[in-house]
Symmetry: C2
Subunit: 197 residues, 2 copies
DNA sequence: TGTGCTATTATGACCAGGTACTAAACATAT
DNA sequence: ATATGTTTAGTACCTGGTCATAATAGCACA
């Protein structure tokens, strides 16, 4: 290699890193930013297989477009794999990095809760189901990459109150437990759902 | 107005709608799609104040980039407005459409839980804090547009266990209550956090 | 000292997807 | 026939590139 082995390699490295956090920057701006010519930047991109701005912007747009949709429309957290209305249900949740504390890689508790809660609510055979109370217990932390299987069972139904138990496991080991009281609301909202809108 | 009042107006309307669901389409493609010339499309965009493809793509990219970040990196759900470590804390959460059931406009319970839980965990003065158990109670449904204020108080600390109460209100009215037991974990993970990684 | 090698920069032709402007064709009501 | 609104066409120019070619700078090595 030449006499400036560090320089070029180093610059390309920094370029790559920089573009990950600033995907919307043009070659011209990059050139100014790295104090080299536009052509050098283009050569670097070529060698590194990095597409032009517009392509990068488009990629970001498409990817996060889909992501926002999937996150926003998630009426259900976790994938429903089995459901017998009013009786029992099963849901699976893959612990992706988004669900964890970045520092520790441990899943944030409320996602386990969310999985259990949405499953419990899904079990209820009514137009609208609202969680009333819950007792929950985290047995051990769940880490990135683990697959959480939540199993819900309806224990009792009294009037419009469903008593539901959920147990979440990772490879058979219990990681989370919850008992829910869920209110079934049909048609007009009753006193519980007293709101003035 | 002219003799084709429907046609033009109607086309522009459809154009606008179409672009909301397909923001990445070029004028040429639009022209083919609406069976008019490219110039007509450009005039329509001009009249409607719709920017060119690249600009639209960029907007989508920037907006949803930020959104994904804010959703994914939300180590904290809700905005922390006050915090006295180990004593008490206050957090606010604006109920946006993403947080609600689309059908009813009622906030999904796990977001209220998440707000309370992250607040409780934030209160703990330790390297890592993990929720152990919780009792929660939803007092009334919260709707889109409401602003939930969660107030957390540390009740007791026994060894590494924090007993924390959280009360969430909308305009003074209690909508949610929770009691948490949170474990403080410093340095090496102890038996509770028994994992084999 | 010249030769070779790499890295960098410059230059020009070309492209997509536009903007901005001018002009012409078309339809139709008065 | 003329005025009016709609649509289409054409041109010059812009940004942010690709691709190919060439010139230049810096240093090693024999």
């Amino acid at each position: 290699m030449g006499r400036l082995p560090t320089t070029k390699h180093d610059r390309q490295h920094r370029l790559q890193n920089y573009l990950e956090t600033h995907p919307f920057i043009t070659d011209e701006e990059l050139a100014r930013c790295f104090a080299v010519s536009v052509q050098t930047i283009r050569l670097d991109r070529l060698e590194l297989g990095i597409p032009e701005v517009r392509e990068r912007v488009k990629q970001v747009a498409e990817r996060s477009f889909a992501k926002v949709k999937s996150l926003a429309n998630a009426d259900l957290i976790g994938e429903l794999v089995d459901l017998e209305l009013g009786v029992s249900g099963l849901s699976m949740l893959e612990v992706t990095p988004e669900l964890t504390f970045q520092r520790t890689g441990i899943a944030r508790g409320h996602f386990l809760f969310a999985q259990a809660n949405t499953l419990a609510v899904a079990l209820v055979d009514a137009e609208i189901a609202l969680t009333g109370t819950a007792k929950i217990s985290f047995k051990r932390p769940v880490r990135q990459g683990e697959r959480v299987v939540a199993k819900a069972m309806v224990k009792t139904i009294k009037e419009n109150r469903y008593y539901i138990k959920v147990t979440s496991r990772v490879e058979g080991e219990i990681v989370f437990r919850a008992s829910f009281v869920v209110f079934a609301v049909n048609g007009k909202e009753d006193t519980l759902v007293a709101d003035r809108s």
